[in-house]
Amino acid sequence: MIENRPFLAFLTHLVLILGVVIVVFPVYLAFVASTHGSGDFMRGLVPLLPGPHMIENYSFMLNEGISTAGAPPLSIMLLNSLVMAISIAVGKIIISILSAYAIVFFKFPFRLLAFWTIFITLMLPVEVRIIPTFKVVADLGMLNSYPGLIIPLIASATATFLFRQFFLTVPDELMEAARVDGAGPMKFFRDILLPLSRTNIAALFVILFIYGWVQYLWPLLVTTDSRYYTIVMGIKRLAATADAEPQWNFVMAAVILAMLPPVLVVILMQRLFVKGLVETEK
């Protein structure tokens, strides 16, 4: 910075620390709640410092769950979430990279139509077509199944655009050199394009993993069998009963567990996360 003004520097840090407090405090409170016994929530105010029951609360939730809320042990829900998030991320990446490849490296009739068909998905979020989409999935017999949770969510215009954008920056000569070197389209894709897309794929994976993990409405619609509950939707059922029976410690343990995987992904892969976020949205 240009000037050296101590007051301004102080103010800057003050603003940032306040911001961090605002961001962290709700989660801190949840964490604190998850370390207390059930009895600690009878009195008027939530505890503000960690208690001694952390391990016991978490292992109870992971292994048993609250049967009264009709929720299975969290470990099952976590696994379902993991399967769903990874499958959605991988599925979206695969079908998007293939369609972007077709659109950029080939010329064929209806190319533009294909592009616009993919584009339209941007304008049809699941929220605006809840019932008919549910019907399609029901008619296909995909309710209460992994395919039902995953496949309807893997079409992706943004991922296709990202790959298209990236492919357009790959020099034409690289493909020409590969052709002169005797590589056909699939060989070029596998040997040259895929390795070059590695960073983009990784960045996209981070974003799409989070996207898959935080899905709520869709699992809520297509799962009624608790074996297929994801943690993000299951948690809502826990919370609904917690108000009646104060089991805040258990609910908050579930909240922390539901947050942890995607938050860790963001923190540990911050560089890829930022790249993925900023580039997919352009």
């Binding site: 950029v104 490296f105 998905t121 605006v128 699939m186 989070i210 539901a258 923190i267 352009k282």
Partner: protein, 294 residues
Amino acid sequence: MQAKRTVFPNKGLPYLLLVPQLAVTLIFFIWPALQAVKSSFEREDPFGFKTTFVWFENYRRLFIDPLYLSTVSKTAIFAVSVTALSMSLSLILAVAVNRVLRTNRLYTTLLVWPYAVAPVVVGILWWFMFNPTIGIAPYMLRAVGISWNHRVDGVDAMVLIIIAASWKQISYNFLFFVAGLQSVPQSLIEAAAIDGAGPFKRFWTIVFPLLAPTTFFLLIVNINYAMFDTFGIIDATTQGGPAQATNTLVYKVYTDGFIGLNIGSSSAQSVVLMIIVIALTAIQFRYVERRIQY
């Protein structure tokens, strides 16, 4: 549309590559959307045996339904408040982070992770904080003489979902503002400093105007977010209540259609929402095109 200078000569392969994406799109996006449009012109009898084509009857009823109209205005209040609150907080934080050097990365890390928290979890976190019996926020508010109960007070409930929805969106806006700030040429700022502009004046006369494209982009994205991606937050906190005070357009589609099984009205509402998304997307892409010309 752009393609490579030379392309592979294969005729069938590109279609094969497109099949998975197009199949999912047609089966789970376009077909259901067309169904929604179709049933928005139909009315089912209460037992679901007979559907009749009723032209714009569903739409007509929708737009004279005071409940729906109030939902429209509630959604507007919610979207505008979330956008304004979240964007202004994010901008302040982004400017601050852009001023620090060594601790830059640490602060960024601490500020961006809420992006990964599911909306429904966000809802539960804030619901817990504002819980009228044991929450810390009502406790503190009582200390300054404000009584809080979002279960009965519609305004309290609206404030709650605005705060929760804004909190989640801070990280997203923050990252885009930081990216925008970093693309402001340092030489411009130095030139302004030489011209005698202090840090605040520099911000308002140089930096903020140059951030306009980012700000505009975020404006659209945030409105989109507040309208469509906050379902989980509302479902976890107020469920549209009390007395419809926090029912948004998207939440109403769900409750009318999936819970209330009023297919015709819900479909008409879906179509209205589709038109809104199409408009927002169109604005966003027009703006992207313009930015390319810079």
